[in-house]
């Protein structure tokens, strides 16, 4: 089962403020995540199961694109994200789109994990061991041989290019491109300003374009 990027039309859709917070703005679509979270707060345990169904794949995809396919324990981190959701059950308020709130938790875990991996990497290099826990392992996992050599090469290049971006640019680019978050929402997630996020994404795209330019010129896509 593969998870393609979120449909792009979601990017422009504002989140709906739940009725308890004053009613949805005109033209907004309901925020299913916030609805489920509030239902769960009200005692509907089934709502939490649905939250897991709807969002665990998105969380896994974000962790995978940020940490890389070579990072061990991504599934454990998905569980960690939802454990934090469970602990935050009572204090959750629907002031933003649910996914924005959820991705804030994911981002914090990503930061912790990145620091942990770097220190592991540092220690393993000091000890002369393999760099198994490093962040930027060659990202060849999950490539389907049936895809063909050219396409597999392109995908490998794309993943390597994303992995080489600085952390802040990488999370901003991934959230914008694959999770359809607006600049303002990404700013909320990473605790920055909308202007800074816009600049980060611009720089990330320029870097990716320069890095992937040879692929543009090949007839591989």
């Amino acid at each position: 089962m593969t998870l393609p990027p979120d449909p792009p039309q979601r990017a422009a859709v504002p989140f709906a403020v739940p009725p308890a917070a004053g009613g949805a703005p005109e033209g907004a679509v309901p925020d299913r995540g916030a609805e489920l979270m509030l239902a769960w707060q009200g005692g509907d345990e089934q709502a939490f199961h649905e939250l897991v169904d709807v969002y665990s794949g998105q969380v896994y995809a974000l962790l995978t694109r940020f940490l890389g396919r070579g990072h061990p324990g991504r599934e454990d981190l998905v569980q960690e994200v939802f454990l934090r959701v469970v602990k935050a059950r009572a204090r959750y308020t629907a002031t933003a789109r649910f996914s924005t709130w959820l991705y804030t938790i994911v981002w914090r875990i990503c930061i912790n994990e990145t620091e942990r991996s770097r220190s592991r990497r540092h220690l393993s290099l000091d000890a002369g061991l393999d760099d198994e826990g490093g962040l930027k392992l060659p990202d060849s996992a999950e490539l389907d041989p049936a895809e063909g050599v050219a396409r597999a090469d392109v995908i490998r290049e794309v993943r390597a290019a994303i992995a080489e971006l600085p952390d802040s640019q990488r999370i901003a680019m991934v959230l914008a491109r694959y999770h359809s978050l607006s600049f303002a929402e990404i700013a909320d997630v990473v605790g920055s300003t909308e202007k800074a996020i816009k600049s980060m994404i611009h720089r990330a795209r320029e870097t990716l374009r320069a890095r992937l330019q040879p692929l543009f010129e090949r007839d591989a896509i």
């Binding site: 089962m1 998870l3 665990s56 896994y60 995809a61 998905v78 939802f82 999950e142 990716l208 896509i221």
Partner: protein, 176 residues
Amino acid sequence: MTPGPKKNFGDTGEPGRELDGLLGVDPAPRLNEEARRRVHDLLSAENDRVLDAVLELDEVTLPGGLEDRVRAAIRADTRRRRLRLVRWTAAAAAAGVLVAAGAGWLPLGVDGLSAEPLAGGQVASLESPSEELLAALPLLESLEFLEEEFGSFEREVALVVDPRDAVFLELLELGG
């Protein structure tokens, strides 16, 4: 040898320059600012489109049964926390029962044979539960909870855990 076509006025012999010579315009292409901006925008849009198409190729394969394992992990964590709570409640309740029982037996004397009736001739009744029973209530609730929530093995484990072991387990958990 056939003579070539007659050369016209302005013909320099260089392809492309002929027409320029005829029209008398500057051969260097000059775009105004607006046209230059439009060309730049078109190229940028095309670059963006190509970059997005390339990025689109990166799909994430989800491990099968991810949702089920997430739910199982959360159930296990919830149970662990409840079990910890039960252990401590049971330990506290047991201590409470011991204290209350000790306090209750004191007026009976050492051999218990010379016990005086309770002051005012009170008789324990359903309307006024004894201190001992009240102190034991959390323990009874914990037992009821254990019956409902846990399997026989887990129940057995929870019941054999000594308060000192519970402290030890807590320390192990913190250390691990």
